[in-house]
Chain length 147, copies 2
DNA sequence: CCTTTTTGTTAATCACGGTTAACATTATAT
DNA sequence: ATATAATGTTAACCGTGATTAACAAAAAGG
């Protein structure tokens, strides 16, 4: 099991790969507001855990295992974010911050249950709209897709 | 701002104080499954932060500030636990573990919103019981008190 | 090309939270 | 009252994740 800190590096590398097509130490450092040596260290550590492919001064890529883990982390983030934003009605900025803080702490099962719950509640709220369009809980009464 | 780790020591000291009337290094260490030197270190650190009253080989007590913080942490735990157990329907053990993991991460505002939400949902579920006693979401349809 | 700039790495260091081993103090029991 | 047991403290150390300063390599521009 890799640490939260390392997962965070991995996640950001994954996002950068999708965004720019490649992963660079400088970009990761900028994105994470940390120093380049920190990224370099993380890189070595992630490599030791078979999550990235990397040689000194070479290109950086995620292994299949690394991609899977990154996706799982992002999915956890998404579902927690959705809960905070659309169920608890926190504003986007706060939902983002709070989701970021706890996404890596929760077990797979909890994330699954939360996903099911959010799905169910957003649907329920949509139905409620037919009865009382102005009631407070209808702020989030738009049917959404959860992948 | 004191660290999560220190908050955890503080919380456990508070609980032991309520439970036994006094706080002892050995008891804290047992409760937290850590060594006595760790407790001792935490003690010095908490003292520096004006959260405990403590002299070498002397009795340990929480300051008013320390008690307030400990109570806040416990309240956060309780509300998160309740959410996992009675809203998400996790079993008690899992709800406990998950609540423990994230209680100190969430902002005051999030905890407040979560408290309001849990309160509301448990009431709603109670009402739902009148319509369909057997539907799945009624597993948690008992009216509960949240202090 | 070759100089300059950007990028990446290494070394040394730090803070934090934890440990074990050794020691000091306090409490207990006979 | 004192030997023994329990409790608490200190010192030395470790791993993790971060830093800055210095350096090496690669890329870019003239």
């Amino acid at each position: 099991m890799v640490s939260k800190a390392l997962e965070e590096y991995l996640k950001n590398m994954y996002v950068l790969k999708k965004q720019y097509g490649n992963i660079r130490v400088t970009d990761v450092a900028k994105k994470m507001n940390c120093s380049k040596p920190s990224v370099n260290k993380a890189l070595h550590n992630l490599k030791d855990n078979n999550l990235v492919i990397y040689e000194t001064y070479g290109t950086i890529d995620l292994t299949e295992q690394g991609e899977d883990l990154a996706k799982k982390i992002l999915e956890a983030y998404d579902i927690v974010y959705l809960f905070f934003k659309d169920v608890l009605n926190l504003n986007s900025e706060e939902a983002e911050i709070e989701a970021e803080k706890i996404k890596s702490n929760l077990s797979d099962n909890t994330i699954n249950e939360l996903a099911k719950y959010v799905h169910k509640v957003l649907d329920l709220n949509s139905l409620d709209c037919n009865y009382d369009i102005n009631q407070e809980k209808c702020r989030s009464c738009v049917r959404r897709k959860i992948n």
